[in-house]
Symmetry: D2
Subunit: 352 residues, 4 copies
């Protein structure tokens, strides 16, 4: 493998909206690091904030910097002190770089490391022909998974983590699972719940394009909250008892409140969607008297969810092809970002 001196990279060159495809030097892997030739990179919702320079992006991102963190490719070089992964390996990147020494890490909760640094947010990212990550952040991908699908291990892992958080497989088997909000992670969660023993999966989503995707991913019931009350729809679908599992992917305060109202006694609600403001919850009737369990969810457990992700994708237990709606080259990055914000898309993947 010959590694060129320069590469194309999609970069935030200065504060403000947009991004520039630039030629920059190919980075070199330091001790414990590997250099990956990127085969595919998919666009996350957080990349949209960086692209548009809104929400938390202006406070967090320092320019110039390449962004993008959902990335897969082939290892082409390794730095010193790399002992397990060799050039030629096909890997997907866990973008959360953890310290390994804080109390969270030492408890096996590396995904909530107190000193977390994130690929493409806190250091140079993966919307580029080459990217450097720590060896231990690389997951060797099952060979049955094609390159573009390999790049979605990160968001698919979010979905796995949300469905199964805190021993949740037990909750899912034989249960009604409601997915509130069918962006890509919600759509993955529909497929995962279906593959792993849910009695029925109810998807709630206002966008008709995504309603269609939810059906393709295996939702038994798709609720359009513009046409019917989702709480009533779930109560009816469960013969009055409520859903044992609610997966909140929207981040909308009103939807979070609705989520608590459709839970069965002892039900579990996982919260992944990030509301921009405090949320009012009827703690007494919807949490305490029901003995509901509310779980915050962020990232993915490292690396148990990666193993499950590879299994679900490689065996065909979950077929994500309906969700991969668009593919573009880095040159077409503007079209790619437009596709994401259009609302007529699932997951959008870029290739060099």
């Amino acid at each position: 493998m010959t590694i060129p001196g320069e590469m194309r990279a999609l970069r935030k060159t200065r504060p403000g909206p947009g991004a520039d495809l630039e030629e920059i030097p190919v980075p070199e892997p330091g001790p414990g690091e590997i250099l990956i030739e990127v085969d595919a990179a998919s666009i996350c919702g957080s990349d949209i904030h960086i692209y548009r320079w809104d929400s938390w992006a202006p406070d967090r991102i320092r320019t110039p910097m390449t962004f993008g963190h959902e990335v897969a490719g082939h290892v082409v070089a390794t730095g010193p002190e790399v002992h397990h992964i060799a050039p030629g390996a096909f890997v997907s990147a866990e973008g959360h770089v953890f310290c390994g020494f804080c109390p969270q890490c030492r408890r096996g909760r590396m995904h909530t490391c107190e000193k977390m640094k994130i690929l493409g947010v806190d250091f140079e990212g993966g919307f580029a022909e080459y990217v450097v990550i720590p060896e231990r952040n690389a997951w060797v991908v099952d060979k049955r998974i094609p390159a573009d699908i390999a790049s979605i291990h990160d968001p698919f892992g979010n979905a796995v983590h949300t469905v199964f958080i805190d021993g949740g497989a037990e909750d899912v088997v034989g249960s009604t699972v409601v997915v509130l909000g069918c962006g890509p992670i919600g759509l993955f969660a529909v497929g995962i719940s279906r593959a792993c023993g849910a009695r029925q999966v109810v998807a709630v989503e206002p966008n008709d394009f995504r309603q269609g995707l939810a059906k393709q991913m295996g939702a038994d019931v798709v609720v359009d909250p513009g046409r019917e009350d989702p709480v009533e729809a779930v109560i009816q679908a469960t013969e009055g008892h409520g859903a044992e599992v609610v997966l909140e992917m929207s981040g909308v305060p009103k939807v979070i409140d609705q989520g608590t109202r459709m839970l069965a006694g002892g039900g579990r609600m996982a919260l992944l969607g990030l509301p921009g403001e405090p949320v009012e919850i009827d703690i007494t009737d919807q949490v305490i008297f029901k003995e509901a369990r509310l779980f915050g969810v962020t990232g993915r457990t490292i690396f148990r969810t990666w193993e499950l992700t590879s299994t679900l994708l490689a065996t065909g237990m979950v077929d994500v092809s309906p969700v991969i709606t668009h593919r573009f080259t880095f040159d077409e990055h503007q079209k790619a970002f437009e596709a994401v914000v259009s609302g007529r898309s699932g997951k959008v993947i870029m290739t060099p």
Copy 2:
């Protein structure tokens, strides 16, 4: 045992505040029921709502009715179809009468039965010389537990359930446990956490009398929220990491919000105190990014918490004597209720 025809009973004779000690016929146990001669009955916060006729009481209580549900005594007669408990047995009452056939009951969650009826709320209660309950709602008390302490199995069981909800023993061992609000259940929770492996117990309580009780029950740190910020106090007591376990016993919206702010990453908050209005929570920063777990708690699991309660009380692992601050006869019921609302009391017990 000779059973008289009449007995004294503390009753709500009509809608409105107050209660009357009346002579009424001793009830007869029906099929599957037992008649208990009451040795002691303790006063619950919900009894105060019934006494004062405020909050939910006017909507729920039908007069005339004897109230009171925290009760212990000797079985003096049994109805037909009683096969396991015989006259002479000393028992404490689980006041939640469950159907056994709804989905909650069939899942072993009898304490959230969809058709629950509550002793002294939905049918004749235990502030009386005699009371009838279903055989299966009786818990035979360990002989080492004195009669008055036996009457607190119900609220002590609430505390056990709150400390250990959802496999929580694992959370408690080696952890910082914060108890927010030191009424009797909070005070019991302090003692239980101390006895079951907590690293340190922090009690937050504005009332100085109860601060003293919290110390006697084993709190390592007692925080007066009028003098210092409880969130900062807990962050400091945990060297900046936050508490692994928060037990919310106050029902005050602001305190619930504070509870989420003092949680460590992956921490668990159990919610027992009932707020009278919706509560604003910073879901994004305090629940999701922390991966906090919020658990609603009501009643007590039937009967696993009873077994633990008996063990903790009978072995002396938790010494509740500091919490039992007042004892009165039924004749002195007015003084008893005054003691409860005075704020200068722990648990108040009445005897015939």
Copy 3:
């Protein structure tokens, strides 16, 4: 519904092999009991011991007695103190009659009640036109389940309990599950594991007829232990790492030992098959250094497994039709028992 005075019942009339179809009075339901008109009854391995009068049967069974415990039918009468189930209800019987008051029952482990009495073993059973059981032992069957399939709730529940024992859904998702011995319960376990997220299911079974059934139930790999070493086969199917889950259904000491040898580090083995003698296990290498988890399994949790059973059967998540290989009338009982012991059968069902 007119209930006749007499009914046909398949009975052990005296110690010794065989059974007689006799006319006996229809039983009357006592307090808390219901009378069921039997629609279908399936034959369990323990019924074979009773029929042949071998193994534990001579020590346990008192003649004369009707046997049979896997039974479904319509409620036709109820005794006093029956409040939840009415005539007309279609139910399947949980044959384990528990006391509700021993420590096991009070911990929610009614299926290991210290005073257990078993239908058709300790009291009059269900190979008859009518049978009496306690109301609380009746499970109302989902209407989508046909009558004959309804009679297998009991053994299907054994399989559910074995697959999911002790929070085992977590173990199954994404894992290799090995089923050792493909009698009916093993075959059900193959289907359940497949439906609930297993990565691959390996069935080990010497009988070629049952090997075929295992494939029909969804086994990815079927191993004939007469032709290849099952330990090596599993190690190979897991790329050298071993299986995360082993379900032992054979009761053969050598097979139990093999089960421990095919486990992955941290793997879980559930033991349902009953060996007739002590079993030698290599505790040091196969249990301790691997940190294997070995779980004894008996009966089914009451009633959580019943809910799962109804869901898996009613939704079509598991299609058990390949396993139901024979149907006979009570008159043909001799043929029915011959079919069971022939080794060329799955589940054998009798109807009146």
Copy 4:
């Protein structure tokens, strides 16, 4: 800190019994490694096998090599790529060096790494004035813990792991815990169970010296198996129901069998003691019908048990001083090993 060129080290200089205290060069830390000046090192049972050159030692140990792995001391130098631990830190060593990349490691089970290397067994150990370990194998010790006690984090961690394996805190709270075999790890387990909510702790131990230590560590009942049948003793101490938790520390086949016989229904037995031969177990009656749970236990989870160990030792929740019966210098190593095998000792600690 001046580091000398040479140091004293207790070494296996050639195959065979015994050990020699030699002068050898102080090792240098490589990338990711730290150099510790040893303050204390305690003797493990496995060190006895190495010393005597029996059991597994001749097959595993390559001479010449320094042995010893239970070690604590001050960091005096760090190699390149060490970012979290600095000279001056006081640390205790996790002797299991894991790869971080095998399936076991990626599942968070680093203590059963498929490529494990052990300090003082597979590479140069800690019975020396200086020792090198990977940075990530160092645990910074709570300052309240004195140096000699710091050296027992490893075996105390074994005890923590045994008591709490697989969510076992839930099992321990309110339960009867039996410890079979009171070597140092068994004695620590007595203290830990006592501190973390056990109802009663029963210690079974034939050696009268250790019986005395068990009492000092908080055992409620001490059984001498030479004088009474331990199964009967436990059945009696639990009013006929059996113990919910049995911790097997002896490795004696007969005692393991007894352990299964004293378990309550649903009870949990943790197996840490290593039998030298296969063990016969009555699977049917003692495991299956009881639904017993048998857990193999090895090492300690990394690093959750370390956090608990530090907490229990630093807070005084467990006072291990009775167990530390002997202290010697490296020069007195012969006496130290004699003390260990004498049977009149608890933990034996050596200092430079």
